[in-house]
């Protein structure tokens, strides 16, 4: 069970140095082809600027001209220990959906804070979202130590500020590291400028993290994705499925039996979570959106349920407005019956009212005319998270807790 890549996201307030840190990581691990460095040099010269590390990630003309990251992007680098995928996420409030798109793929996160400015609006918002996205391996880097003369005192102040805020979210960072992305201090190597710091470099901290695997022994959940002639296809979201196994299909609550398991030319006796397979069943009255389950361990089938949602569209939603909900392959019109709590995702202050707006977090109660098959997010994450869709676009994500 060896996976060769660890995917991590870099988040934080605008201008605190996310793209620069990535540029530095790539540069110090010698992961950039010379051609890319030359291309960036050419562009920088054309714009009359010094070499910008951030241009290695910020590829759009507008990103380069304005020195901001608009969209999430991914790149690859290697340490002696393993390969990494770095996900860069934009720091502007307007690009929150891009930040979430990137972060939802990560197994670990670096939260970057400017040593001079301390924590800001997006630092807090991103920290909250990391928590919601279930990211538990976190490094906080205090960047731009060069701007504060590498003072330990200033580091301690910002560190305390960070800890105080993260405590409110029940978020415990694994490491808090002072760095200078610009000068390369504490990224790949220890440096004299920060010799008072006893902890690891950023690369050492990353190397200490592990790949996130699904818990073993979870019950079978296989959402039906499609039907090809007499073949039911889908991906096993949890557990495993065996030939001749008796299964229950929800929400219709019908018993069925697995006659064969196929993967193109292969016939399998057993398949486990993560695999996209085809099944021949005893009874072929099955359709997309139904969930094939372990008959002795069934999920909840509900019409009403509570969830926490985060809104990432400039469109708003009101109580009792119809919205489309997608959870695995289930898609259903639902309404928000009640808002239990409405919050600003940065300040965490409660907001009055019954309109959910961009960047708000809401604890809500959903009502659906037709039953939905769900799980608690902490038990089987794949079955406990969903998106909301308005006018063909994903406008919010949510978790069931």
């Amino acid at each position: 069970m060896i996976k060769e890549y660890l995917k991590f996201v870099i988040v934080g307030h605008v201008d605190h140095g996310k793209s620069s840190l990535i540029g530095r990581l790539l540069f110090d691990t010698k992961s950039i082809p010379q051609e890319k460095i030359d291309e960036v040099k050419t562009v920088c010269e054309a714009l009359g600027k010094d070499f910008e590390f951030s241009y290695l990630m910020d590829y759009l003309t507008e990103e380069r001209e304005k020195n901001i990251t608009i969209d999430t992007t991914q790149t690859f680098f290697k340490t002696k220990q393993r390969d990494y995928v770095i996900i860069d996420a934009p720091g502007h409030k307007e690009f929150l959906k891009n930040m979430i798109t990137g972060s939802s793929l990560a197994e670990a996160a670096i939260l970057i804070v400017d040593a001079d400015e301390g924590i800001k609006e997006q630092t807090k918002r991103h920290a909250y979202l990391l928590n919601l996205l279930n990211l538990k391996q976190i490094i906080v880097v205090i960047n731009k130590m060069d701007l504060v003369d590498y003072q330990e005192k200033r580091f301690k102040e910002v560190e305390q500020e960070v800890i105080t805020h993260l405590n409110k979210l029940n978020l415990k960072p694994n490491y808090i590291i002072p760095i200078s992305a610009k000068n390369g201090d504490n990224i790949a190597t220890k440096d004299n400028n920060l010799n008072w710091f006893q902890g690891p470099t950023v690369l050492d901290a990353l190397d200490s993290f592990t790949n996130q695997f699904q818990e073993e022994n979870l019950p079978l959940r296989l959402p039906v994705q499609d039907i090809y002639e007499d073949m039911v296809v889908g991906r096993i979201e949890s557990g495993k499925i065996e030939k001749n196994q008796e299964i229950t299909i929800l929400p219709s609550n019908v018993s069925n039996k697995v006659l064969s398991i196929k993967k193109w030319r292969e016939e399998l006796d057993l398949a486990s979570y993560g695999h996209s397979i085809g099944l021949k069943l005893d009874d072929i009255q099955v359709k997309r959106g139904q969930i094939i389950c372990d008959k002795d361990n069934l999920p909840q089938v509900v019409n009403n349920f509570k969830a926490t949602i985060f809104w990432m569209s400039s469109n708003e939603i009101k109580v009792n407005e119809i919205v489309s909900l997608k959870i695995v392959t289930q898609e259903q019109d639902v309404v928000i019956k009640k808002i239990h709590k409405l919050m600003d995702s940065s300040t965490l202050e409660e907001i009055d009212g019954d309109v959910i707006k961009e960047t708000y977090i809401a604890e809500v109660e959903f009502k659906s005319d037709k039953p939905l098959v769900i799980e608690n997010y902490n038990k089987i994450p794949e079955m406990g998270r969903f998106v909301l869709i308005q006018n063909e676009d994903i406008v919010a994500g949510g978790i069931i807790v």
Partner: protein, 267 residues
Amino acid sequence: MDHLDELENKSIYIIREAFHDFKDMALLWSIGKDSTTLLWLCMKAFFGKLPFPAVHIDTTFKFPEMYEFRDKYAKEFNLNLIVGKNEEALKKGVNYQDTDTFECTHLLKTEALKQTIAKHKFKALLVGIRRDEHGIRAKERYFSPRNKDFKWNYKDQPAELWDQYKSKAEEDVHLRVHPLLHWTEQDIWEYTKRENIPVNKLYFAKDGKRFRSLGCMPITKPIKSEADTIDKVIEEIKNTKEAERAGRLQDKEQANTMEKLRSLGYM
């Protein structure tokens, strides 16, 4: 589940989602290693029978070995092959010698694709691009809408999370679906080796040179290489400092060319 399994299963999931959401779709098969891997994954997803056509956008300036490869495997995989050309531009004699690379690529590839989509009314296209190929492709989504002018609105891309994608397209919009977005060049070769996927011989070294990326003959240059087997190719990629598309002239010429090409609808 190992790394290649993980890549494969995610791609198959995406291909099946695309087919569920958009029945009028096609695989864009450029005859290169990536789109051939994608073709292989489609064969897996649909148990050996592709339920939609494979489209080859033919500039007529491809390598003879590419046409050979196309015709051989189109037959072997029993594909419904559609060859799309910008006949009007070709009649006018547009070519890489007399027209600049940017314009020629635009006319013979992007415009030809536009005409093919319009003719067959495709709502979605499977395209084998990867994030590690180019910084601008790293910004892509798995399901990426293009409007009727083919424009990629990269400033306002749809949110994607937890394998939920944009599943409907407005009138006049088509979706580019990118099931290989999370693969690297090395992944492609390791998977090609494991699965024994057919490989065009142009990728293997002959007389000290091989092609690392395939395109139109006049604007695609080979690299110096002694890698004449798949194992040697993998070893070479692991150690190279050169960019994969270094031999593809249309990407360069001026700063941000790739962005301009892509915003006009290039793959």
